[in-house]
Symmetry: C2
Subunit: 358 residues, 2 copies
């Protein structure tokens, strides 16, 4: 590039200051007239703009990638909402990958680090395979994993704690005087299904409640399946007085079925969901739900990565974001929902429709 | 770069085929052993990887940017969910910007095109200012605008039609025999507030219904404000039998207040929202809502941009995505909600929590 045109020759040709050229070429706000002059001069001189040349020099791209397992999953979108502004504030552009939870796609993203198109990567894989681990060991750029990794993996890692989350929910239901607390779970051959099942059993034992297989119903992590599971449960155990649901969608299905069966929530049956999605505040009755801190995990992951990008050479870090229970009408009786306003303002952009929608 | 190491010299040094080197350097799936050999050889030879050198040669980055006004807005997230896979399938990485609806940020993004860090841009601004137009005219890469642009603007443009959307809702309520159809709107000094107000008035006139100022209540585009507006409306017009709400959040607030007032929905008062967010299917009763086609607008925008990137030199295109009404329990009486399943599967990733949450 050294032999090619420089900002000096462009400034001369455009008849503007070198500072102006720099501002324009770096995309900083500049008077339109100046922008046009500089762009014209740059074109005439065949100047190749030049994030590219700059990164050749610095080997930096000022880009960070976030590889999310599922772009349709509110939990990952909550992470994204936190990651984006943190990186933006630090001057990094965000490259977004959605791997559709396909391991091969995640492997491709890790391989791609060799291309040096980003300075770092935040990845939230469904599960970490040996292939992940080999590539993480050889990674050409800092990586932060949101999710669990095997002990001893030398990578910064931010994780949730669904076990404690289930515990919080069961303890809450117990504190309300409920003693027939059922678990409506997803498939047991999934990591969360297994973990939530084990956590439920532990929680009961610690509370001195008997573990009753009849109180455990396995369906899937979706609303209709959740509803069907609860219908079966009600038929088998009519006197159930509380439902711990393994995610919010299962809980929404539970509310559908309880309503149809004429069971009052929470008077007859109290219901707790998990993940604390926007849907929890929108449902009626509004849904108490365990937050696994998706937003916080995104924020922490971005901050850990920024530290590495500043050259932090410390040992790999592991941060566990503690869960918390958001109590709403489905366990606390109807009442003002402190989350409605926030749920709303997160959607302020309905305002966004102002631009697109008219 | 020509004088530096090449994939030939790396292949020699690593003792693998040139094809293998190419696969590794391009981040394609490759045996771990090969990856390690190639990476080692590349390091020893001081090979600078090299999306960078390739784009210097081709002047292409294989990246496309999407600048969304508000990363917290479900309407934009719906666009993003469609844009990302379309670009991924075409081999482009997605660079995500959230401008927080700040014009200066949008201007920066347009300026930034001069940096050539992307091959094209999709932007969804709240409103298009003169500064936008000047930069669009001088843009160094193809741009597609989601939203309205002034007549004659030479840029590909995908827009919604909220006017027809309001019409669909009012006609639907009329067809249900409702004759006291109120509008619960956002601020009239916003583009959508003004447009939806005008569309409501037109719709009534075409139906031969009198325009009654008492039936128009202006609040803001959020749930609590929507609820307050409906409370005022009920006090002033107790016999109102239908509410056209300017977005889903207003409609959720309306359901809160109607429930508290003991009005049955839809028997006493039918309610329609707008934007058809995930919240509409989660509410109870589930909310009939006008979809302004956010997802479709994102898909069309991505496809238009890809055509430009293939070198399409045709005239600027304008595509208007027609709205459609999604009828649910708030106007149709309770019943199976055909959207619940989809609302659910969009959140299959609750499954995503499988990785993070255990």
């Amino acid at each position: 590039m050294a032999d090619g045109p420089t900002i000096n020759t462009i400034a001369e040709r455009a008849g503007v200051s070198i500072a102006s050229v720099s501002r324009v070429l770096n995309g900083l706000p500049t008077r339109q007239e100046t922008v046009r002059k500089v762009m014209a001069a740059a074109d005439e001189l065949g100047y190749v703009r030049n994030a590219v040349a700059r990164s050749l020099k610095s080997r930096r791209t000022n880009q960070v990638a976030f590889a999310m397992a599922d772009i349709g999953n509110p939990a990952y979108l909550a992470m994204l909402r936190q990651i984006q502004p943190v990186l933006k504030a630090a001057g990094y552009r965000l490259v977004l990958h959605s791997t559709d939870a396909v391991v091969a796609d995640e492997i491709d993203v890790l391989h791609g680090l060799g291309e040096r198109y980003v300075d770092g990567l935040i990845m939230s894989p469904l599960r970490v395979t040996d292939a992940h681990l080999e590539l993480l060991a050889a990674a050409r750029a800092p990586v932060v994993i949101i999710g669990s990794v095997p002990e001893g993996t030398r990578v910064d890692n931010v994780r949730a704690d669904s076990r404690t989350g289930v515990r919080l929910a069961v303890d809450h239901l117990y504190s309300l005087g409920r003693r027939r607390i059922a678990l409506v779970n997803g498939p047991l051959d999934t990591v969360p299904g297994a973990a939530r099942g084990a956590a439920y059993r532990e929680a009961l034992e610690d509370l001195g409640l008997p573990y009753d297989e009849n109180l455990v119903q396995v369906g899937d992590f979706y609303r209709p399946e959740g509803g069907r599971a609860v219908a079966e449960l009600l038929a088998r155990v009519p006197d159930v007085d509380a439902l711990m649901c393994a995610n919010d969608l299962i809980a929404l299905g539970a509310l559908d079925v309880l309503r149809a069966a004429g069971r009052r929530v929470p008077d007859d049956v109290a219901v707790v969901g998990m993940d604390d999605t926007d849907l929890a505040a929108a449902s009626w009755p509004s849904l108490s739900s365990v937050s696994l801190g998706s937003a916080e995990r995104g924020k922490v992951a971005a901050e850990l990565l920024l530290e590495r990008l500043k050259g932090g050479e410390h040992e790999p870090r592991r941060v566990t974001v503690p869960p918390h229970l958001v109590v709403r009408a489905s366990t606390a009786g109807a009442g003002p929902d402190e989350r409605a306003a926030r749920g709303g303002s997160r959607e302020a952009g309905g305002a966004g429709e102002r631009g697109a929608g008219s």
